[in-house]
């Protein structure tokens, strides 16, 4: 019973911080003020100051996190709705996403191997561009440290949405649809959330890129592990 009340309390706390964070972001539009960044910072500070343990926060947090599953499932609706856009762009989507996935995984592996990190960290890093609920399960399956995977996925998500658009602008990528594909393949659902700024088509393309990289990653990850560790 106490766990239930605490859980409800933690959900209420999260929502109560998320709503003003959203309003602040809508007003100022600074990428650094994205609600997930500001709200997470505030909640982490509250937990540290009040001495509430992560496990206690997660009594409510896990129910919010649980919605990530249905959120991935819900992508079926925009996919069906934008099927014509997707069919028309199937080659660019597949080419861009698969190219990105291969390079993303190989550079990730190269860097962590060069720096001499242990096997479970190297493997945890490989699925960094794949959406959290998928990446964690994947890392688990092939012997990676999955709690680090969620951290790496977050870093990939945030760096992509904060710096990605700048890099794309600098590289003179003009197509808003290409922004969607780049953000979706490098920064999964966070990239998709950022794509809302580039129009409905960009969001649809971004969500497909996210899905394609999740599927491609599921297939490629065991291959990478086999290539590196035999």
């Amino acid at each position: 019973m106490l766990a239930f009340i605490l859980g409800i309390g933690m959900i209420a706390l999260t929502v109560a911080i998320y709503i003003p964070a959203t309003h602040l972001y809508r007003r100022l539009k600074w990428p650094i003020l994205m609600p997930v960044l500001t709200a997470t910072t505030v909640i982490v500070l509250i937990l540290i100051i009040s001495g509430i343990k992560l496990d206690t926060y997660m009594l409510g947090g896990k129910w919010i996190q649980e919605l990530l599953g249905p959120a991935v499932v819900s992508l079926a609706f925009p996919l069906a709705k934008h099927l014509d856009v997707l069919k028309r762009n199937i080659i660019p989507i597949l080419g861009g996403t698969l190219g990105g996935s291969i390079v993303g995984m190989s550079t990730g592996a190269a860097i962590s191997l060069l720096l001499g990190y242990p096997q479970d960290i190297v493997i945890a890093l490989l699925p960094k561009s794949i959406t959290t609920p998928v990446a964690i399960q994947l890392a688990d399956q092939v012997g990676g440290n999955s709690s680090f995977t969620s951290l790496f996925v977050m870093i990939a998500g945030f760096s992509g949405i904060l710096l990605g658009p700048m890099i794309l602008k600098w590289a003179r990528v003009n197509s808003k649809n290409a922004y969607g594909i780049g953000l979706g393949s490098a920064s999964h659902a966070l990239g998709m959330a950022r794509s809302f700024e580039y129009g409905e088509n960009a969001v649809a393309l971004s969500s497909v890129s996210m899905i394609v990289s999740a599927i491609a990653g599921s297939v490629m990850l065991p291959l990478w592990v086999w290539l590196i560790y035999g």
């Binding site: 998320y18 609600p35 997930v36 709200a39 997470t40 909640i43 982490v44 937990l47 896990k62 919010i64 996190q65 990530l68 249905p70 991935v72 499932v73 819900s74 992508l75 079926a76 609706f77 925009p78 861009g96 990105g100 390079v103 993303g104 550079t107 990730g108 860097i111 962590s112 990190y117 890093l125 960094k128 609920p133 994947l138 709690s147 969620s150 951290l151 977050m154 870093i155 990939a156 760096s159 992509g160 990605g164 794309l168 590289a171 990528v173 197509s175 290409a178 922004y179 594909i181 780049g182 393949s185 490098a186 659902a189 966070l190 998709m192 959330a193 969001v203 969500s207 899905i211 599921s218």
Partner: protein, 142 residues
């Protein structure tokens, strides 16, 4: 009070529907030992069901866009989990994090560039496609 009760009832029911597909997806994944996750299996299943016309797009649109426009809320709990990894940052991990960021940006840039290039290639060749019918024969010989 001005809360659109009917709209929110709809959203809740639709999210429950998607949760159902998530649950079935998990079940199928576990039984068949698929390399995909339950959420992806559920999504593909729902997509097929929509294509078959058993579920209309309009039945889930509101709930789906509600979930997606509030994705950032759903990411807060796993991100708060960072609190247990502060030690990792205290150690000498700056280079790893930097490398991770560079790798992510290369991924983003390359995906966007390749897709933009392919879009441009397609639009310049689309007009000629009807005139020259068998342009894909070269790949068949490989």
């Amino acid at each position: 009070m001005d809360i659109p009760l009917k709209k929110y009832t709809g959203i809740v029911l639709q999210v429950i529907l998607m949760y159902g597909f998530y649950w079935i997806g998990n079940l199928i994944q576990a039984v068949l030992h698929l390399p995909l996750t339950g959420s992806i299996v559920g999504m593909l299943l729902l997509f097929i069901v929509i294509q078959l016309g058993w579920i209309r797009i309009s039945w889930g649109e509101e709930g789906s866009s509600w979930l997606q426009s509030n994705l950032q809320l759903l990411f807060i709990p796993p991100t708060v989990g960072i609190i247990n990894h502060f030690d990792f940052f205290r150690a000498n991990t700056l280079l790893l994090v930097l490398g991770l960021i560079v790798s992510t940006l290369i991924t983003c840039l390359l995906s966007a560039k390749i897709s933009e290039w392919l879009m441009a290639w397609r639009s310049t060749h689309q007009g000629k496609k009807e005139a020259i019918s068998c342009s894909h024969s070269s790949s068949e010989s490989e």
